[in-house]
Symmetry: C2
Subunit: 373 residues, 2 copies
C-alpha cells in the first residue's frame, strides 16, 4: 500500500515509517522539520542523538534495502502539499504532522495561536487534498486521549449513546480538553467528522495516550536509526522525564499529589495500532475513533514504578511533590474504554520492570548528554 | 457600563450598539469593514442602503445626543486590538466580529480556512485581552444554534446531564455542526469554556437562531440609522430571502422538501437578549450558554407564512422546490430548549403577519434595488 506519513521526522513518525516500510508498504515521509527548530527555541535537545531525516533514510536503505521517499515542506502550505498528494497518490495517510506539546501551546498568546492555526489549517489541507485528489485514501489521524479531559463517567471511544427525556441518539462524546494544544485536536476531530459526513472521507481518529519507550524492532537494527527521546519541560512526557531524572540522580518531580490518571502505551504498540488501523480501514464516509492506550496509571504509580526499577539496578530514586502549575484535578475518576484496537488484534506490551530497565539503559548510555532542567 | 461591540458595523452589531447607547451605556464599536468588502467580492449589496459606520455614528449623535466611539481594525491583529482594550477598558464585550455565513465558508478551501482562522484567532485574541487587561470583563459571545446540528434528542442549553453505566456527570452538549463556519463556532465555544475554567473568564455564549426583521426602535428614529438587509445567496438568511422573492414576484426557493427545522427570532429580540445577558452577567469563571431563539419553524412553515402575508397585501406568491445542494436531513426531529433567556425576562416578539407585512413594506420601498439572484 502507498502510505504517506505526515510528521515523519518525529518521535513516532520516523519509527512508524520504518515499521510500515519493513512490512512491505511503499512509504513516503513528509515533514517541515519544525520539531527540530523548536529544540533550538529552548536550547533543548533529544537525549538520544539522531541523524538528519535524509541520513536516516539512507541508513534505512542500506540496512533494510528499502526506499522511503522524503518530502520536506509545510502542511499548512497547500501550494507545497497539493503537488505531493498528486504525485504520491497515497492510499493511506498517517497524520502526526502537528504541534503536539500542551506546555508549548500554553507559553503565551503567540504560541497558543500558532498551535491552533498550524494544527487546524494543516489538517484542513489534508482533508481537502483527500477530497480533491485521493477520495478513497484512508486518513489515520493522531488525536489524543486528552481530548476527553476527566469526566466523571466512563470515557467511550469517540461516541456515546445518550438516552434523554425518552429519546435516544448516538452522539459525539463530550470533550473537555485541558490546553490550547488539546483543544486543537478537538477542533480537528470535529472538522474530520464533518468531512466524512459531507464528502465521504474515510477516517480513523486515534485518541492516543502518553507514549513511552525508545526501542522498536527497526530501531534496534542500528544506532543510526534512533528516534528522538525528549525529556525537557516542554516536549518531554512524564515517564521519559522520570527515567532521565532517575539516571541523573535527581528527584522525580510530581505535580501536587500525583493522582492525575491517564492512559499510556509502549512506542511499539503505537506502531502496531497504526498498522492495525491501516490494514482494517474505515469505510467511505465513516468517522471512527479508537482510544489508543493499553494501561491507565496515575503519575504517582509511574513515579513508584521508576523508583522500584531503579532500586533493582542500584539507583536510589527519591520523589518530590511540587506545586501544580496546571488547573487540573489531582484526584478524579478515570476509566476509559479501549476495546476497539484489542478487538482488531492488538497484543499489548504492558509496562513492566524489564521495559523500564531497558529504557534506563538507553538513558544511561547517553547520561553525559543530560542537561539540568 | 462601558461596552465594546465587536463587529459593530454589521447587521446586528450596529443596532445593538445603538440600543445599548440609548439605554445609557458608554458604547464603542470595533469593526474591520470585512462584511462590506465581502459584498464587493460577489457584487452583492444590502437591499436597504446604509451609510458608512462613521456617518451612522454622527447621525446617531445628532439624533440621540449620544457618542459612540469607533475603532477600525482587525481583531486578528493583536497589535491593533490590545491597545483598544487598554484604552477603552470594557466592562462587557459583545462579540459579533466573525465571518458568519455558512455558504461563504463552503465556497472552497481558501474560504473554509479563512473562516476558521479568522474566527478562532479573533476569539482567542479576545480571550487573551480579557485575561491580560480586563479580567472582570464579561464576554457576550455570539454562537449559533447550528453548533448542535439536528440530534435525535432534545437540544439543551450548552450542557447535558448524562447518566452512563451507573455514573452521572454534567457535560458539554455534543456538537454536530453542518459547515466550516458552524464548526468555527464550536471551536470558539470549546476555547472559551477552557479559558473560563483556567483563567476565571466570565462568558455567556449566545447560541442564536436565524434572525429576521429590519426595524428596531432606534432604526425607526431615522432612515440614516438603517442596518443592512441581506438577501443574496451567500449572506442572505432564509426569511429575508423569501420576503425579497415575494416582492420581486419570483417563486420562493425551498431546498428539497423544506422540512429542515431551525430556531428563529426577531432582530428586536436579539437586542433584548444581548442586553439581558449584559445586565445579568456570568460569574467569574462561569461559562454559560443561552439558546437564543423564540420559535421553531421548518423552511416550509416560513414559505407558507410569507405566501399568506403576501396574499393579504395583494401579492401572488408561489413556491419552488429545488434540489438540495447541502448534505442535511430534510425531515428530522428538532426540539431545542430556550428557557434561560425567558427566565431572565425576555418578552418575545413572535413572528406574525403584522411583522411580515412591515418587512415587506421595507422591501417594497427598495424594490428597485433588488438584483436577480
Amino acid at each position: 500500500m502507498r502510505i504517506l506519513v505526515l510528521g515523519g521526522d518525529g518521535y513516532l513518525g520516523w519509527p512508524t515509517a520504518m515499521h510500515l516500510s519493513q512490512r512491505g508498504h511503499e512509504v513516503a515521509v513528509l515533514d517541515n522539520m519544525a520539531r527540530r527548530a523548536w529544540d533550538f527555541e529552548f536550547g533543548a535537545e533529544s537525549l538520544v542523538p539522531i541523524l538528519s531525516l535524509q541520513e536516516r533514510v539512507m541508513c534505512w536503505k542500506s540496512l533494510a534495502g528499502k526506499d522511503i521517499a522524503v518530502y520536506v515542506g509545510d502542511l499548512t502550505d497547500y501550494d507545497f502539499f497539493e503537488p505531493v498528494i498528486r504525485e504520491f497518490k497515497p492510499e493511506a495517510m498517517v497524520h502526526y504532522g502537528e504541534q503536539r506539546a500542551a506546555p508549548y501551546s500554553m507559553i503565551d498568546r503567540k504560541h497558543a495561536v500558532f498551535t491552533q492555526v498550524n494544527n487546524i489549517v494543516g489538517n484542513m489541507n489534508v482533508l481537502y487534498a483527500i477530497a480533491e485528489h485521493v477520495p478513497d485514501c484512508h486518513l489515520v489521524k493522531l488525536g489524543t486521549m486528552g481530548e476527553y479531559g476527566t469526566p466523571n463517567i466512563d470515557i467511550e471511544e469517540g461516541f456515546i449513546t445518550i438516552t434523554h427525556k425518552g429519546r435516544t441518539d448516538r452522539l459525539p462524546y463530550p470533550k473537555q480538553p485541558g490546553s490550547f494544544y488539546h483543544l486543537s485536536k478537538v477542533h480537528d476531530s470535529h472538522n474530520i467528522m464533518f468531512c466524512c459526513r459531507i464528502w465521504g472521507v474515510r477516517a480513523t481518529d486515534l485518541n492516543q495516550g502518553v507514549v513511552y519507550g525508545a526501542d522498536t524492532d527497526e530501531i534496534l537494527m542500528d544506532e543510526c536509526l534512533r528516534t528522538r527521546f525528549d525529556y525537557d519541560g516542554v516536549f518531554g512526557t512524564v515517564l521519559n522525564r522520570f527515567l532521565v531524572q532517575a539516571v541523573a540522580g535527581e528527584p522525580l518531580t510530581v505535580y501536587g499529589k500525583g493522582g492525575q490518571t491517564r492512559g499510556f502505551l509502549d512506542i511499539r504498540d503505537t506502531l502496531a495500532c497504526v498498522e492495525l488501523a491501516i490494514m482494517n480501514p474505515a469505510d467511505r464516509g465513516e468517522y471512527r475513533v479508537f482510544n489508543q492506550f493499553t494501561e491507565q496509571f496515575s503519575v504517582m504509580d509511574l513515579a513508584k514504578a521508576v523508583q522500584e526499577a531503579g532500586k533493582e539496578i542500584g539507583l536510589s530514586v527519591t520523589i518530590d511533590h511540587l506545586p501544580n502549575p496546571r488547573v487540573e484535578l489531582e484526584q478524579h475518576y478515570y476509566n476509559a474504554i479501549n476495546t476497539n484496537l484489542l478487538d482488531l488484534g492488538l497484543q499489548p506490551h504492558y509496562l513492566n520492570e524489564t521495559l523500564l530497565e531497558s529504557v534506563i539503559h538507553v538513558v544511561q548510555q547517553y547520561k553525559h548528554r543530560i542537561n539540568a532542567t
